[in-house]
């Protein structure tokens, strides 16, 4: 698949949130206001792109040559966890203001399925290093798009009188559901028609 195809696929068609069910916890949890959604979105994009690259290296430089693919999960997640922690420490030291903005989300990212998800999907799709990286960025951007749109809608909803039982996460899920309904406009066939 071309790079354009990868981008369109992961941003729109297989949007991690709206069609793949990955990364829902932060999507619901951190979308209450636009600022934190943007912060989370960029943090996830950053980690996803690096993770996709790093796990590609593990897969192709260690696991495959040694025929120990069954250790995929454990090595990938180990890598991701360390990576996230590393990034967290680095940011905390080098830019306290950025840390204030992003820091609280970074630990959440370790347990965000989207990161491991993109690593596994990139490997299963036999992407090369650059493709994995692009897939990581695109999937991150797809997440960013979804969470930012979600947060703008939730901010609008903050100024309505939502019926009480629906306030908070229930309405967020329903909003996400309606978004997913609309995103069904983007399907594989559309991609195939578009880029042949």
């Amino acid at each position: 698949m071309t790079y354009v195809g990868i981008i369109i696929t992961f941003v729109f068609i297989n949007n991690f949130i709206l069609s793949q069910f990955m990364g829902l916890c932060p999507f619901i949890g951190v979308s209450k206001n636009v600022e934190s959604a943007v912060g989370m979105g960029f943090a996830v994009t950053f980690v996803m792109s690096i993770a996709a690259l790093a796990t590609w290296a593990i897969q192709n430089l260690i696991l495959v040559p040694l025929h120990i693919e069954f250790l995929q999960t454990i090595t990938f997640i180990l890598m991701i966890a360390a990576l996230v922690q590393f990034v967290e420490m680095f940011v905390q030291k080098s830019s306290p203001s950025l840390y204030k903005a992003l820091g609280i989300y970074l630990p959440l990212i370790t347990t965000n399925c989207a990161v491991l998800g993109i690593a596994l999907i990139a490997v299963r799709s036999n992407y090369n290093a650059l493709e994995s990286f692009v897939a990581g960025i695109s999937a991150g951007l797809g997440f960013l798009l979804a969470i930012v749109l979600m947060s703008t809608i939730r901010e609008k909803l903050d100024s309505e009188w939502i019926p009480k039982p629906f306030r908070g996460t229930p309405i967020a899920f329903i909003t996400g559901g309606l978004m997913a309904l609309a995103f069904m406009a983007f399907d594989k066939a559309l991609l195939n028609n578009l880029i042949g």
Partner: protein
């Protein structure tokens, strides 16, 4: 087969070791001191984020205690319990005074019992209505009943009774004072949690005037004073006040009040 197990053992072990070393090293060079007391405080504060302390939420207060030396007794919802725990963490003993207070609305008048001046058309908000001639009730002291306090109460302690006046559930109230702050008429006042009675009127007008506009208002007749010799009641400015520190039964005064504006709180709920 065996060789793969060995590879697995070695490679993952090495990977783990390297990452562990890197992280350990990184945590050293990137070390940032964070006062542990703040996290400890955050844990013991109730987490209601009600703002009664005057800081942006519980964690803001925690930071303020450590960094700015803020008072340790400001958390109303937590009360004495939390204050002493805060003291423990900060290494001082905190004097905590008094028992838990709760807010109560000192008016049981409704638009059926009190005279209405005009036909209000506008936002359902006490402050908005109060801007127009002090509200549509002829009584300038009473509760306007549009529920601005209900809206601000962080714990939903205030609700409308079937009779039409508002009541505060003393078990829910965390004494954050938001309702008192928002209420334009000053009809909400704090009373001790253990209080069993209130004077459900706030009118400081003379009895004759009160009679004209409200059928359940305090007329300042001093009947309650007479019926509670232990000093439980005091009338000032034509309005009866309860001295909650004075012991004694209040049933007689409740019975005697001609305006029936002294209420037993348990019944009022």
């Amino acid at each position: 087969m065996i060789s793969r197990v060995i590879y697995a053992f070695l490679s993952v072990g090495i990977l783990g070791g390297l990452l562990g070393l890197a992280l350990a090293y990184a945590s050293k060079i990137f070390a940032v001191k964070k006062d542990k007391r703040i996290t400890d405080l955050e844990e013991i504060l109730p987490g209601a984020n009600c703002g009664a302390c005057g800081y942006p939420g519980c964690s803001g207060y925690a930071e303020a205690i450590v960094n700015e030396g803020a008072e340790m007794t400001l958390c109303a919802p937590g009360g004495a319990d939390v204050a002493s725990k805060v003291g423990e963490i900060m290494g001082v003993t905190v004097e905590v005074s008094g028992e838990k207070m709760v807010a109560q609305i000192h008016c049981h008048g409704t638009r059926d019992t009190s005279k209405v001046k005009y036909d209000y058309k506008g936002i359902n908000d006490c402050n908005a209505m109060h801007s127009s001639f002090g509200g549509d009730k002829s009584c300038p002291y009473g509760c306007l009943g549009l529920g601005s306090c209900i809206k601000v109460c962080p714990v939903d302690a205030i609700s409308k009774t079937d009779a039409g006046y508002l009541n505060i559930d003393k078990d829910k109230c965390i004494a954050c004072g938001k309702c008192i702050n928002v209420c334009p008429t000053g009809v909400i006042k704090m009373i001790p949690y253990s209080a069993k009675t209130i004077v459900a009127c706030n009118s400081k007008d003379k009895g004759g005037i009160v009679r004209k506009y409200c059928s359940v208002g305090c007329i300042g007749c001093k009947m309650c004073e007479k019926k509670s010799p232990d000093g439980g009641f005091k009338v000032e400015n034509f309005l009866a006040y309860i001295d909650y520190s004075a012991e004694g039964s209040r049933t007689e005064a409740i019975e005697a009040c001609p305006a029936k504006c002294i209420k037993n709180l348990d019944e009022a709920q």
